[in-house]
């Protein structure tokens, strides 16, 4: 059952790579949060309240409600147009994403480690690299933030694959840091929207050596 959710998660990546409208990106990110919640929930061996609350907070509240709402607010406030404006056509994006997935499958087949669930590993790594690809190939700054969030989701899956529970305090610190960094990125995005009137990376080329 977990694998079904993971495969759906992988499919969302393909969908993201050909999506055109900004709101689609936001919705897919919210969906990814829900999928991650189910994956974690099914993986739990025993359910205790504190753990459940933490997971709920991390996936549903944070990944599927708070961040998408924040992103939607950013889109609205900065009058960002609907189009994602990739540098490359969607078809090529799809091919590149497929290549990434195939490459990670090949890589994971070369690992001889019985303790590792390969499905988690493939999904995690391909999400990570797809996120990096989104950052490199999209023109709008907000899509860079979304690429960063996709990477974060990939890291989340990877942390599930590892199965090594960090101490509670450490876990909490990590969660808080990620939350604040998204917030800070959003705040500065707003500023960029105010100052430059256009939220493209092409605007950010003024720092020079002379």
């Amino acid at each position: 059952m977990i694998h079904v959710f993971l495969i759906i998660f992988l499919i969302t990546l393909f969908y993201l790579s050909i999506a055109n409208r900004m709101l689609t990106y936001v919705k897919v990110l919210a969906l990814q949060g829900v999928l991650l919640f189910f994956v974690v929930f099914l993986q739990l061996q025993k359910i205790d309240t504190l753990n459940l609350v933490l997971i709920l907070l991390e996936t549903i509240v944070f990944k599927s409600i708070a961040v998408p709402m924040f992103l939607a607010y950013l889109l609205k406030r900065n009058n960002i147009t609907r189009e994602a404006e990739p540098y490359l056509p969607n078809f090529i994006s799809l091919i590149i994403t497929t290549t990434i997935v195939v490459a990670t499958i090949l890589l994971s087949n070369s690992i001889k480690d019985t303790n590792l669930d390969k499905m988690f590993f493939v999904v995690a790594l391909s999400t990570l690299f797809t996120g990096l690809y989104f950052i490199a190939s999209r023109r709008k700054i907000i899509t860079h933030v979304m690429g960063y969030l996709v990477i974060e989701n990939g890291v989340f899956v990877l942390s599930l694959a590892v199965g090594n529970e960090m101490p509670m305090m450490v876990n909490l610190g990590i969660m808080l840091d990620i939350f604040v960094s998204v917030l800070i990125l959003g705040i500065f995005l707003n500023k960029i929207g105010d100052v430059f009137k256009d939220v493209d990376v092409d605007q950010l080329t003024n720092l020079k050596d002379f």
Partner: protein, 475 residues
Amino acid sequence: MIGIYLIGAFSIAIGLFLSRNKIVTFGLLGLFLVLQWVLTLYSFNNLRSTDLGYFTYDSLAVLLLVVLSIIAVPALIHSHIYLDDQPAPPQTRSIYYGAIVLLMTAISAGYLSNHIAVTWIFTEITTLSASALIYHHRNKLALEGTWKYVFICAISITFVFVGILFLSLSLENAGSDDLSYSNLIANSSRLNPFWLRLAFLFIFTGFTAKLGLVPMFTAGIDAKDKAPAPVGALLSSVLMNLGFVGIFRFYVVVANTPLHHWANVVIGIAALLSVFVSTVYMIKVKNIKRMLAYSGIEHMGLVMLGVAAGGVGYYAAILHIILHALVKSSLFFQFTQLYRVFQNKSIYHVGNYFKYNTTGAMVLLLGFISATAMPPSGLFVSEFMIFRSLFEAHQILLLVVVLLLLTMIIWAFGKNIFKILFIPPVDFDDSNVPKISPWESVTQFILLALAVYLGLNPPTEFVNLLKESIMLLPK
């Protein structure tokens, strides 16, 4: 103690953030300095003891903590002068002081942490607090610099986290999943080499954003350029040291495994590329702050070459990073005065500095001599030891290449510095150049003198701490 320090410093930062009253602000800043020094002295007296489970006062941390506490004093003094000279709205001022205290707190805690994930948390906090400082001027360029810095650091810190996850995979056969450095070293023979390799690549790449090494050095350059110069001093000295701590502590783990040689090759390549990249930029650069920042990249490249070469290189690397922090911060502090005279940071519009501010020009000249590691600079000693370690590691070709690149760097650096010092600028109206009190340069002279003293005549206690911090590395 660390608990009191963290709670105290965080509440001081919040207090500074809310305070609009000058006297309250000064009181809180003074209180922070006292707290910082109390922590430093406490850690010095309680060497090797562990606090709160996640913090250990080990020798490397104590050394760097002392450096941070020394630099913190002039950093706050120069921040005060800077904010007086370029009046900012009260709110901006409060954010500046709150963020600078938060930055120094996070760096101190990052030095002391003995658990790789705790280092991660505090490194992330440095990114967040630094972003508020880089954005101090609230203009387009500052915004661009901040955005690039925050984004690249966010990505790099995610890389470190991925590395930590791989690291815990490599612990599977070790019987304990505790990620503290001491446990990792104790179990180093049982770490799975495949995952350890991946972990090292990711953690190394991630921390290069803070250390200022190829591949992630770019964000740091923009940040040091756009941040106010007192902050630039912190970013290019103590924050770089935090990146070094992150890499070095994990390197100690890897060095005790069969991957030692492989890790040295990885570090060596990144270090050589850093020296090369900084040479290329140093020759072209016309912005004084960026020039100083690129010089930092060069020094970090040398430090990591020392680490990669091993032997006496380990000792030299830690000595070099300490001395570099003192020298580079003093140069950045001097830049605030230079900017007040010329109101410009392009080398074309700056010159004949000796005429307008003799004391400051002396700092710049001595700082240049120190930064290019000419005797009697302390950096000469450490750099010489790094070259010796390369020689002893039979890397003659590498040594020759590095020396050639360094020659070019010294030429480019010197060309620019002597233009600033002696050649009159074109079209510069010197009718209303402000008079700068020589007293403002005292702290910079002290930092430079300290670098000479620690390099040429190191106290026994200092040498012992240095030796102890590389004790766990294989010979």
